[in-house]
């Protein structure tokens, strides 16, 4: 999508406003919780409940990392079970899906890796590809079965000489989305840099030219339109994660 630099439309601001609104909602919601549940504590201090809940979120991250198995695979399905039509979902409307030119697209690579050469689509296509028909589960509770093919992230990380003892792999996207996953999950055999959806290049609404497909995590941990990948020991958080969704969100 071509935009004049420096000009912001209401549409550009809408997702940001929604986000600020959500963050406020977390506060008020938790304060309501404080009022109803923590009678006897300082009722004016909603931050205490906030802190307790964020501490529990971090505790749940650790429990999930312990429960995670490198070898346990997400269930796969026959092609007949693929959900049709497959639903679009993002923090913006379908009209605002970024329009990316695959010929000029490059993915930047940075952080704790040896080879930081940007990746073109052609180079990614030349890597070994893996196919999966798995269930994509949204944090909201709905789910749909889809088919994705692409480069196993494990092979990609090996190829770029990533330090796989590092803790996190982070993603920055062309639609201003960002997210990150733990290294164990990044090395899982079903975690792929998906290029195809049901046998064809990813449609724009499902993340062209490349998205992360990780069936061992919830849908919002599957960023679309990836523009940059980096390996780090500092938790990069994520668009939703920073607003209060559980960071690990493993399934």
């Amino acid at each position: 999508m071509k935009r004049e630099p420096g000009l912001l439309s209401a549409r550009d601001l809408a997702p940001e406003l929604k986000r600020v609104e959500r963050r406020l909602m977390l506060k008020t919601g938790l304060s309501l919780g404080a009022l109803t549940m923590l009678t006897g504590c300082n009722l004016a201090d909603g931050d205490m409940t906030d802190r307790a809940l964020f501490a529990m979120l971090r505790f749940n991250d650790r429990v999930q990392a312990l429960l995670f198995s490198k070898t346990r695979l997400a269930a796969t399905f026959p092609a007949s079970r693929i959900t049709n039509p497959f639903k679009f979902n993002a923090f913006y409307d379908e009209d605002d899906v970024p329009d990316i030119d695959g010929a000029t697209w490059k993915m930047e690579v940075s952080g704790l890796v040896q080879d930081k050469t940007p990746w073109t689509l052609a180079r990614l296509r030349a890597m070994p590809q893996e196919n999966q028909i798995t269930r994509h589960i949204c944090v909201e509770g709905w789910s749909q079965i889809g088919e994705w093919s692409g480069v196993p992230l494990r092979l990609f990380l090996q190829k770029i000489g990533a330090d796989t003892r590092a803790k996190y792999v982070g993603f920055k996207c062309a639609d201003r989305y960002y997210s990150s996953i733990d290294m164990e999950s990044a090395l899982h055999p079903q975690t792929i840099l998906a290029l195809d959806f049901i046998g064809k290049p990813l449609p724009a609404e499902f993340g062209f030219p490349m998205r992360l497909r990780i069936p061992t995590k919830l849908g919002f941990k599957n960023p679309k339109h990836i523009a940059a990948l980096y390996v780090t020991n500092d938790n990069p958080g994520g668009y939703w994660e920073d607003q209060g969704y559980n960071w690990f969100s493993g399934s």
């Binding site: 919601g29 938790l30 919780g33 346990r72 269930r135 589960i137 509770g141 209060g244 399934s251």
Partner: protein, 216 residues
Amino acid sequence: MAQTGRSKGRVVTVHPLVVRITHWISAVAIVCMVMSGWQIFNAAPFLPLVFPPWMTLGGWLGGAIAWHLAAMWLLVANGIVYVGYGLAARHFSRSFFPLSARSVWGDFRSALTFKLGHTPGVYNAVQKLLYIMVLLFGILAVLSGLAMWKPVQLQFLAAILGSYPSVRWVHFVAMTGIVGFVVIHLALVILVPRTLPTMITGRARLDPEPEISHEA
């Protein structure tokens, strides 16, 4: 066993301390779980039904999940203590059994005609059945909840309960069973208010007539 009626107003302990503590912790945990669960349900309702905001907890989906997966630990830890105690101290076998379909039907009929008496610490057959059922619904809620939380890592659980979408239904049904129990339970407390202080102090004053005493 039947006792003589001489001990009019004798105070007895009917609810052991462990039962009282776990009862009130589970009351808090269940309220948190149900209210935040309704907020989560609202994010993607699979029934033509939305829970009004005042009935929910968390303010938005992220807040609700944070509450749900925090209160989950309280519910489960408390449930383990309660069930462990219930089995080890024979609280379940003494309080909930024997139980027969005939006794449930008989007590149900007397309850409907307000002829059913209340003896502190002794559960009638309908109560016994309700307590057993809410325990089973609670176990079902926890198992289906775990299956939904970890459909890959705990896939054997999801497999027992069906596919991912059907596990959501199972969880909803279990919640409905628990909420149904709470509604009946609170209605009975309103009908027999003297059971409320007993659940706090554990003590009850026996009626003057000969009674079957119960110690758990």
